[in-house]
């Protein structure tokens, strides 16, 4: 039972990170209809910024906040400069452009920060509490708290502010949104900016749970985040969170209890998606689109 709870917690911890990046993906997908392949690499760059600041002696929490701010600005700029010119083009074109971004950001990151392994401390310290036989680390509690806060802030932003109303309006019908005077361009830019800083947060949460920060750090996370988003239904933020947690927990339990899956744990999320999509082709929380002939 102890082992089970411990694995469950590991799973939730990872799930929180997947959910964070998946939220970023969903946010961009909802506002622009774009699947951003470069999301992981944007987060990678931001995480290196966090590392650099921390390395210069900036307190880790402050470093994360600063890098989120930088990511916010760069995310908006990327939308404005790179994505804007192809926004109306075919999905293929946009796909290739984000793939181009993926390659470019990854190699610029290596160029700027080098390919050595870097260490990033956890923002929540190394402490742990014992509850019965189960030890709850500070990192775990911190991760869960961050996810809860993140969801609350996003919900408040999207549902309770005028900016959020604009974002949702552009997502649901760009034409009509423009007609009532919402600048869809600005909204899309803000959508990318928010998503980018969510990614930065996810990266800074993720790296301390891994052996080291390298140029390949975020690629596995991106795959898991894709899985989480697909599982939840691509247009649902709630789905992204649930999807992330499910993927994380399923992975952790499979590692522990299913011996043949030992070094092929990636099977887990994809078998899971396969099964879910067989019964609900638009994910757990996705909207069904009615087609007219």
């Amino acid at each position: 039972m102890t082992l089970f709870l411990q694995q469950l917690m590991n799973g939730i911890g990872n799930g929180v990170i997947y959910a964070s990046v998946a939220l970023a993906l969903v946010l961009i997908y909802r506002t622009t209809g774009i699947l951003n392949f470069a999301q992981g690499e944007m987060a990678l760059f931001a995480t290196y910024v966090t590392w650099q600041l921390e390395d210069w002696g900036v307190q880790i929490v402050l470093a994360i906040v600063l890098s989120m701010a930088i990511a916010f600005v760069t995310g908006g700029l990327i939308e404005l400069i790179v994505i804007r010119p192809v926004e109306q083009k075919s999905p293929f074109v946009i796909l290739i452009v984000t793939i181009g971004l993926f390659l470019a950001i990854n190699s610029l990151t290596i160029f700027q920060f080098g390919d050595d392994e870097r260490q990033l401390p956890s923002a929540f310290g190394e402490g742990a509490w014992k509850v019965g036989d189960v030890s709850i680390t500070a990192n775990f509690s911190g991760l869960v708290a961050v996810l809860v806060v993140e969801c609350a802030v996003l919900w408040l932003l999207l549902q309770k502010t005028k900016l959020g109303l604009g974002l949702r309006a552009v997502a649901s019908n760009p034409e009509s949104a423009r007609l009532v005077g919402i600048s869809s361009g600005t909204m899309l830019m803000i959508g990318w900016a928010i998503a980018s800083s969510l990614g930065a947060l996810g990266g800074a949460m993720y790296v301390p749970t891994t052996p080291a920060l390298t140029s390949g750090s975020m690629q596995a996370v991106l795959v898991y985040a894709f899985a989480a988003a697909a599982l939840g239904g691509f247009d649902s933020p709630l789905g992204a969170v649930v999807g992330g947690l499910v993927v994380g927990v399923a992975e952790a339990l499979a590692i522990e209890y299913v011996e043949p899956l030992h070094d092929i744990t990636l099977v887990v999320p994809f078998v899971l998606i396969g099964v879910v999509l067989l019964f609900r082709p638009t994910g757990l929380f996705g909207r069904n689109v009615v087609e007219r002939v």
């Binding site: 181009g100 190699s107 070094d263 082709p281």
Partner: protein, 340 residues
Amino acid sequence: MGLNTLQRRLVNLAIAIVVVGVLLWVPQYFGSTQTTLWAQAIYYAVAAMGLNLLTGYNGQISIGHGAFFGVGAYTTAILMENSNWQFLPTLPVVVIVALVLGAAFGFPALRVKGLYLALITLGLAALFPDLVNRFASKYGTGGTSLIQPPRVLAPTWADSFIDFDDQYRYYMALVIAIAMFLLAANLVRGRFGRALVAVRDHEAAASILGVNVARVKVSAFAISAAYAAVAGALSVMVEGSANAGKVEVFQQSILFLVAVVIGGTATVAGPAIGAFVVVFAQDFTKDLIDDKPVLSPALFGIVLILMMYVLPDGLGGGVRRLAQRRRAMTLSASVPPGAP
């Protein structure tokens, strides 16, 4: 001047003859390294053609064809290394294995569309290296997943026109690729090709017209997997090894898609052009900046983005637009002044 069908066919035939002529002459002119690069472009073209059948003609996006490519490569490599087969006899086995796997993957793909499908196929690409490590590494050198079967060598009867073995491998890849392209051209022009396009453009309408949507989609998956796998087999012949690093499989999957889009989706020549652009653009950006090789993917990525700005419908589409503009100009010029 409008061309009638016969003239257009003759023009196409002439272009094809010139292209094949150039391709035949390439290894006579270039050295071993450059020839291998061209051979690489050829097997990339085969894989891109396969992906084009699925993505361009049938509208199912796959970012996982690196996995099918790998299946082909490993099938050939293991048969050659372990069972001492010659290269050519492995090809039918590769095709059969890939058809079966592709169809098996095509069935679940029936339920999933667009973006979701793209993601699931991405999972395939991410998963494949792990599977190879688990199941194929017992054949590899030192328990790794790298398999280096005996090289394919030029036979003695070819001595008169072959100077080095890379030349022979190049010609072999070229002949197989041409056969695969002719097959694809016939496939898309016929009944099956129309069904592919109909399903892509409107599934419900196609099914009302009597197209068996499920069968068409699964077949498209199987056939395109077979193309990718043959390309993988060719890569083993050309490079002398099969490998499945995480980065490589992902990159290949992306590059195939890039080749299709750059060349122009749903055209026969597009994937070939795209594959050559991708292979040579990568090679070009590799040496562009002295002693900063880490920046070459950045350059390649930027080139990709710029290309999409200038030619959103690919090189094929750009040429077509140019031709249309010229036709429109000659048409308007040939209308006599004062005519209604």
